[in-house]
Amino acid sequence: EAPAPKEAAYVGNEVCKACHGPQVEKFSQTMMGKIFLFNARNQLEKQACESCHGPGSNHVAAGGGRGVGGLITFRKDSGEAAKVQNEACLQCHQRGIQTYWDASPHAGRGMACVNCHTVMEKTSDRFQLSKVDDKTPFFNKRAQTEVCGQCHLQRKAQLMRSSHMPLREGKITCSDCHNPHGSPNPSQLKQASVNENCYTCHAERRGPFLFEHPSVSENCSNCHEPHGTVNDRLLKVRMPRLCTECHSPPHRANDPANNVGFFNRSCTNCHSQIHGSNHPAGMFFQR
């Protein structure tokens, strides 16, 4: 009968460095490396490499080698369960924006933190993402949209449409609206409702108004597709047919040749205050 493996003990990162010098050097350039290697605040952080990979004595005793000695590994092809990998990260990252990780759709689908983040070397400007920024004088590919676009293929394609928000210009990014680590809100939104998310930048539409437009007040995405469309102003359906989803008389925009409800901005040629009006004469959102 083979002897039971000895319980592993911590050996300290100087021992790790003896064989993994280049990796430790790269790690030391990261925010996490600076804290763990030079500014540790508690025992866990002092364990440095072993705080994530686990105690290394068995690995050392066996002479090293990939997957030897029961270390937790994070390589894509390591075969390590995502849950085991994530537990290493969650020792520290289980509050703030990561508070809802355990209940998040990404956790529920077996995603590992390292699917999106790189730990061992400095990558993106922020958040140690597994993709890097690409700045040009013409467009800025933000690492974050590239990371999310790995799986959310339809969303990535939508960013290239004629009507889009400035994601491909690098001015906003996915996590301005969504928290990929989970949230108590639908679609992992950062705010409690779709509208409150939109009001973060579009505070003028927040109201309250004397005349509220119910479909607007309830959900901006009744009319808009924020990820990009081929219709102006990110509309899901081109006007006037967007409006005729709910409204019929008294107008019936039918012939594009001679109808004011058709050309230019269509129905909003007249109903320009469609997001709400505070004017006593604004019942039809015209003032």
């Binding site: 508070t99 700045k135 293929l153 109201g207 058709f262």
Partner: protein, 694 residues
């Protein structure tokens, strides 16, 4: 760091700078080309970076700048002590161009007061056309916004358990965008399209504190947001009132050129919002975790009401009070439990409550006036009640690891929505709806290089009080059956080759809707490949097709169908031709969208002709060669091509006066900005740049 660091006593300094020249050839309209960016034909500084670190490795100071000196510039300064505090200051400018090519206006724009430079002197269409199309009577106007965002963010972590955050950010938005207002009621109206003056300021603050103990955490956060609109009223001359003098009249009489001399509108009112959020987590027995959030907020708005009309010939109806005193209290409660007691089984249950509690008191009036025109029977409303809704949601999911490579999950949830909608013109004063959602997901990873994900959800929304009448069909309230499916595959048989593919589907059916939206469907297959055949060569390609369609019945004889079809394609390569010396990158992106609306008429209907298609095609090519002449100096040569072509029946025809389109007698005085905001262009931009690292 790959570059040489500068030794400065206890600190090291490093950084990089890039300077590019951009010779350019351009044809077409600039508006879409510079929609959210500025690409000047000059020398630009796209990147600057300065990093200062202490040799003790305990503190940092980083400065980044992008697009220096341009309208889309960005600056970020970040400094702190590792593990103790982090301070970040950011300045970002986001331009948003609507039209800087061909919009014109006859108005002299002075803050919120717009006066006509001159007035037509007679009422006939010919005189009106000559007046508005005479360049002396109009001026070019740029329709664009500039958002300036300033942020300060501080994070302080005195111990690993405690953390405090404070953020302040302001957003200033200035510029102009198109907006239009009618004079008079439908059938007897004309439109004045204006360049709306925008001058918004929003101040936001966030203060938070959090403590994470052994097995529990508690966080408290306050968010405040103050929005101020410096131009909240717009007064503008009525182009239908012929000159040179104008006297207000109750009714519009085109023959006499009479009517209201001016119009007045209420632009977005200043408002404020405050939210307090408490979040807590706790580890419970039986490997259960509790997560909970409660938030309560105030949305307030109390701008004074404008009078019903600026038309001095009409008596002002009285209102029950002078301002709305709007008061909405958004409330959210979420309680979630996650359990892992049984090995391989993950259970989750949640309850969520969201309420838009509108405590605004009803407002009443003695009469109404519409669009500055008087007339009998204009009694459109007497009392307006606030709109509000609440939503109760509960759900559960069970996830089980059947094998090491197969995980299945089943989700079920129930949403119940209660709405109170102002009883404006129909019976749908209060609407309740219940929606049940069920569906499985599967995550299959049979090999370390093979991953499949699949999910499906079916939902039933029952809305027993809903009935679509001719006035309001409100698809978002109607009974609905929805199917959602998603497939994803990631196949990486070798380290050098990986494929990914996806398919997303959403299908909505509204079974009880006779008139209105019957169904809407969207599907989108995608495929991509990443191939690295050689250490120095990377190739990538992606393709996505997106199809969206909807069907609606306007009435029993008129049936409308719409389709959007979009092809999106990108391909590129990165080559490290001489390792760390000569690199080349080329990438091409293409997106083509088609939007069409079809009409089917029953019986003798002939009044809905075929509508033209709308198309848009966008192409982008970037080729960049980087030669490192020294370990810290690189020279860049590149070429950027960008083309946008568009056909849009809505704006291709636009001109200042739509006299040949807008032919009904009552509308011959309508004026527009001629705002062809989707103009096509072709841009060729070369760039020569130097990148310096230190």
């Amino acid at each position: 760091r790959t570059s040489a660091e500068i030794d400065a006593g206890d600190y090291t300094i490093s950084g990089s700078a890039e300077v590019d020249g951009l010779p350019r050839g351009f044809q077409g309209n600039k508006s879409k080309f510079e929609e959210y960016r500025v690409i000047p034909e000059s020398v630009v500084v796209p990147q600057l970076q300065l990093l200062i670190g202490s040799k003790k490795q305990d503190s940092y100071f980083n400065f980044d700048a992008g697009n220096v000196g341009r309208n889309d510039q960005n600056y970020r300064l970040r400094f702190g002590r590792y593990g103790l505090f982090d301070v970040e200051l950011e300045w970002d400018q986001i331009p948003h161009v609507f039209n800087i090519d061909n919009a014109r206006t006859p108005y002299v724009m002075n803050g919120g007061t717009y006066t006509l430079r001159s007035r037509p002197t007679a009422d006939d269409a010919g005189t009106f056309s000559s007046w508005i199309n005479n360049p002396a009577n109009t001026r070019a106007v740029d329709l664009e916004l500039l958002n300036k965002v300033g942020k300060v963010s501080i994070r302080y972590t005195p111990t690993p358990g405690w953390s405090f955050t404070a953020k302040y950010w302001s957003q200033d938005t200035e510029g102009k965008r198109a907006i239009a207002f009618p004079f008079g009621a439908a059938g007897n109206s004309h439109i004045a399209e204006l360049a709306e003056p925008i001058d918004y300021q929003t101040h936001n603050i966030e203060l938070g504190g959090e403590y994470a103990g052994q097995g529990w955490s508690l966080a408290l956060k306050y968010n405040g947001s103050l929005f101020h609109n410096s131009i909240s009223t717009l007064v503008f001359d009525n182009p239908a009132a012929i000159g040179p003098g104008c006297v207000d009249a109750v009714d519009i009489n085109y023959g006499l050129g009479q009517g209201p001399c001016r119009g007045r509108v209420d632009l977005y009112p200043s408002n404020q919002a405050h939210t307090v959020t408490l979040t807590g987590t706790a580890s419970l027995p039986l490997m259960t975790k509790f997560l909970g959030t409660v938030s309560y907020g105030w949305r307030l708005q109390d701008d004074s009401f404008l009078p019903f009309t600026i038309n001095s010939a009409i008596a002002q109806p009285t209102l029950s009070r002078n301002s709305l005193n709007g008061d909405i209290r958004p409330t959210m409660v979420n309680v979630t439990l996650v359990n892992n007691f049984i090995n391989k089984l993950n259970l989750k249950a949640y309850y969520r409550f969201y309420e838009l509690d509108n405590r605004t008191k009803p407002v009443s009036t003695s009469d109404t006036v519409l669009n500055d025109q008087g007339g009998p029977g204009d009694h459109f409303w007497t009392t307006i009640h606030p709109y509000q809704y609440s939503k109760n949601s509960a759900g559960a999911s069970a996830s089980y690891n059947f094998t090491q490579w197969l995980t299945g999950k089943f989700n079920v949830s129930l949403d119940r929505t209660h709405r109170s909608i102002p009883d404006i013109a129909g019976p749908n004063g209060a609407m309740n709806a219940s929606e049940i959602k069920v569906g499985p997901t599967f995550d299959i990873k049979p090999l370390s290089w093979l991953l499949f994900r699949a999910s499906y959800q079916h939902s039933w929304r029952d809305a027993p009080g809903y009935h679509a009448d001719d006035d309001r069909k409100m698809f978002f309230l109607a009974q609905r059956e929805q199917d959602k499916a998603s497939l994803f595959a990631d196949i990486s048989p070798w380290q050098t080759l990986s494929f990914h593919a996806g398919f997303d589907l959403i299908s909505d059916n509204f079974p009880s809707t006779d008139i209105g939206v019957h169904n809407a469907r969207n599907y989108s297959p995608s495929i991509g490949v990443l191939y690295t055949p050689l250490e120095w060569l990377k190739l990538f390609a992606d393709y996505d097709f997106d199809w969206y369609s909807w069907n609606q019945d306007y009435d029993t004889d008129r049936h409308y169908r719409g389709e959007d079809r979009v092809h999106t394609f990108s391909v590129g390569s990165e080559m490290d031709l001489i390792k760390d010396v000569l690199g080349f990158r080329i990438q091409y992106g293409f997106s083509q969208g088609l939007s069409q609306i079809g009409n089917r008429l029953d019986g003798a209907r002939v009044d809905d002709p075929k509508w033209p298609n709308n198309t848009s095609t966008w192409q982008e090519l970037l080729a960049r060669l980087e030669y490192r002449v020294h370990k810290n100096v690189a020279v860049q040569l590149g070429y950027y091509f960008n083309r946008y072509q568009s056909k849009d029946y809505g704006v291709d025809i636009m001109k200042l006066w739509m006299g040949d389109m807008d032919t009904s007698p009552g509308q011959i005085r309508s004026i527009y900005l001629g705002d062809q905001f989707k103009g096509s262009y072709t841009a060729h931009v070369g760039f020569v740049g130097v990148k310096l690292k230190f």
